[in-house]
């Protein structure tokens, strides 16, 4: 038996009990099975280019690489930007007789990182037999004609968040052309370059190019599928805003023997401030925090009730002996607002620790907002809460005089502005059609009124007057936003099939 035949047979083995009924997806699978190595090679080339949002030069190299990928497929494309922004990569497939336009969104920039935390270098894509935490070992890419182990994983920054959809969409276009599938809608691609920096310029770029980016619906190809590996469709996303808090002690670190218990300890002051913000069950104690939330509709409540409850399995998988907000379930909780400490630091720990009273203590918190909550007003409410704890709040590093004049001083940095949370009604005709197509490719889907993560949906809907639906393909355990980010290979294959069906709907 030759290698080609082996590969064919391996691809025909059942990977789930669901039988796919979507012919476009079936054609995509056959095509993919013949091109696995080429698909992964193209992915690796893109992943090699560093893409942390503020690294402008490398971010532009990413954009140019994606333009080349489109040019290779004769998809007219260009970089669209405004002064000071990373470009959006735009591409378009016009279909004669099409009566609607579908826009596929992904982003090619990635979260900041500390290379020292990574098992292999974040911009040296590395295939492993399985997840690192399960003993995955480094393996070579499969030679052309030989199937990849679908459980193997590719490690690099943005494998999951969010370069995978770009490769899956380009591969889907190849599959459509190779199989001669008919397209019924005009297609646009919009790949953003600063989503992880808060999409500060997206609204400006779209508002300045309304016709270019207009469409009946934007498919937001970002985020992970459900932890059960079932396909997920989210009809909205929470918004996120940030507050960085710096609490001050003495002007420099002091010997803890000579000054401890007399010089105020900023780490303790910060701890006390943070603790004042939430009770032990995760309820946020900031006044009026929950006041403006827009209630769920009946169909939205039903969708959450219908979603699988795998909290116990998830706790086990994540080594958790308890959850915050219990007995509420994960899917309930991510449809509510949250307040989270994303990082905290004061002086040093471990081998570099020394017996000092620290001079300052820093916490960065992120707040997820649901529909109805205004980003600025919510930040204001938290800042009022901080003032109510006796802190003098400043918006820049405080002077000696300010620190001498007030018992407790905190510098609060708001970061970039929020964009507002969105929930697209699940009973719209386009919502119902998307559910039908997705389930014909991937089986029963988990349908969420809102995903827990944040996407700049409002920044898209507002200037363009369009709708947004979130269709992710990454595995849930992809470590996105952290070190050792990875994509499970089967998720890439599933994504190609799913996008082939959506591109031809």
């Amino acid at each position: 038996m030759n290698r080609y035949l082996l590969a064919m047979l391996a691809g025909l083995l059942p990977i789930s009990l669901f039988t796919q009924t979507n012919p476009a997806a079936q054609a995509a699978r056959l095509w993919r099975q013949q091109h696995e190595r080429a698909i992964v090679d193209e992915f690796v080339e893109l992943l090699k280019i560093p893409n942390v949002s503020h690294d402008r030069e490398n971010v532009r190299r990413n954009a140019e690489c994606i333009v080349k990928m489109m040019e290779k497929r004769q998809i007219p494309s260009r970089l669209v930007t405004v002064e000071g922004a990373n470009p959006v990569v735009f591409g378009e497939i016009r279909v004669p007789g099409a009566v609607r336009t579908l826009v596929f969104y992904a982003h090619y920039d990635g979260q900041p990182l500390d290379p020292k935390e990574w098992t292999s270098a974040p911009f040296t894509p590395t295939l492993r037999s399985q997840a690192i935490g399960k003993g995955g070992r480094v393996i070579p890419l499969s030679p052309p004609g030989t199937p990849f182990d679908p459980e193997s994983r590719l490690y690099a920054r943005s494998t999951g968040d969010d370069k995978a959809p770009i490769i899956a969409l380009m591969s889907a276009v190849d599959a459509i052309r190779s199989a001669g599938l008919k397209m019924k809608s005009n297609i646009k691609f919009a790949f953003e370059g600063e989503e992880e920096a808060g999409s500060a310029n997206l609204t400006k770029i779209l508002a300045a190019n309304k016709d270019l980016f207009s469409g009946d619906v934007w498919f937001m190809c970002d985020g992970p599928v459900h932890q059960t590996r079932r396909q997920q469709i989210a009809f909205g996303a929470r918004d996120v805003v940030r507050l960085d808090l710096t609490v001050y002690g003495a002007k420099n670190e002091l010997h803890s023997g000579h000054y401890g218990n007399w010089a105020p300890n900023p780490a303790m002051l910060l701890a006390r401030l943070l603790v004042s913000m939430k009770n032990e069950n995760g309820h946020v104690l900031v006044d009026h925090f929950y006041d403006d939330i827009e209630p769920m509709s009946d169909i939205e409540k039903q969708a959450i009730a219908d979603a699988p409850d795998n909290d116990q399995e998830l706790m086990h998988e994540l080594w958790l002996g308890s959850t915050e907000g219990a007995p509420s379930k994960l899917l309930d909780l991510i449809n509510q607002p949250s307040l989270n400490i994303r990082g905290m630091a004061s002086a040093r720990i471990g081998a570099q620790a020394s017996n000092v009273v620290p001079s300052s203590a820093i916490a960065s918190i992120d707040i997820r907002l649901v529909k109805g909550m205004d980003p600025l007003r919510t930040q204001d409410r938290v800042i009022n809460h901080i003032k109510n704890q006796g802190f003098f709040v400043v918006d820049k590093a405080p002077s000696a005089e300010v620190r001498q004049a007030h018992p407790k001083v905190v510098w609060v940095d708001r970061g970039s502005a929020g964009f507002g949370a969105v929930r697209t009604p699940m009973d719209l005709p386009i919502s119902q059609e998307v559910i039908r197509v997705v389930e014909s490719v991937r089986g029963s889907a988990v349908k969420l009124p809102s995903m827990g993560g944040s996407l700049p949906l409002a920044d898209i809907e507002r200037p363009l007057g369009t709708r947004t639906i979130v269709i992710p393909i990454a595995n849930h355990d992809n470590n996105q936003h952290s070190f050792d980010e990875n994509l499970r290979i089967q998720n890439l294959w599933d994504g190609i099939e799913l996008f082939t069906a959506l591109l031809t709907m």
Copy 2:
């Protein structure tokens, strides 16, 4: 006028209103004024050798350098150690007809550091016109025969803590010999090499070499003088123990959108635990924490009452708008036990922060003990407190199973054992004699029953049956235990005079 004469005149200018009445100190001053550059050159050579306690190889180079300094002065010396320990440098001056032995202790190892935090490299000694915080600029060492600005400062690790006394003692020996001063006591030097690592082996080294290290009193030349720049004598020191706490969330960092408010946040759990340990006024809330404290004697209470109250000036200098434990004063508070957060960390802050729920959060706390408090029992009481907050306490990194089985898990690392706090009675004849000699050199001294910092006094007193008295020379604002450690040049000059008087008493 030639340079030599200029230097002589500069040295004769009054530097305080106090008139020195000690002839040995007066002789030392004249000698010093003629040898300032040579003294600083010898100091610089010693400071160039990295001395972080766990850096065994470089620590030994320090010890060998000090042996050479003694050999240069015909002081018989040797390295004394036990298996696995950094050596104590021992030296001895036998005086015919002497009826007592005075031992001078200092340590030549230094606190761990992060070079990135330093303005100039920690092992590249750098002279500045004054403190960095007051605009001090880098200046060259004064040429031989030209006086140093007494307010200039030498920056390097261990300038203040604790290599300065070693140089001052060696210079005092030179001054004694040059002026032909008569010595009345046998002198021993004991320079330790792992004080900053907790003096784990000091007791063992002394117990194995009792005769070598025996003496009527050990002068502990470590720590800073009073913030008013008045000489300080401390008749004891607090003990210090440490507890490192690691609190756990999920097995890896999680996306704060997809898991926030459901996955427990270890930074918040840690903050809540820390806050439970102290009230807002600095009182420790651990049950029985204060139970075993030995009360102060009347002479000790009087000494604290007589000490200067410069809290307001100190608050201004340190940019503080409040103090912990107010209205109690600093000198009251450092004679009581303390509990201090010396470092704290969870995930990342600043440009490297990302929207995650951290996987763990770490705090290192140090506890200062006063006479009567048992180190182990005190740690036990804090650990009991932690258990009472609902934590499952482990003494090593917990397994997945342990983390899955308990709602809240903390790894508590006790670090090295404590040595116990010491207070030498202030009415002993030797105590009273030391006060008289010191005040004849340096004027009215601040006399403390105990210093706030920690020294292994018990580890010395217990095996040798001796007494200990702490006589520091460094400036209070020397940044010891932190970055940009420095010594004010006048403090070195004062130290030489003081030690000359003590060596000849």
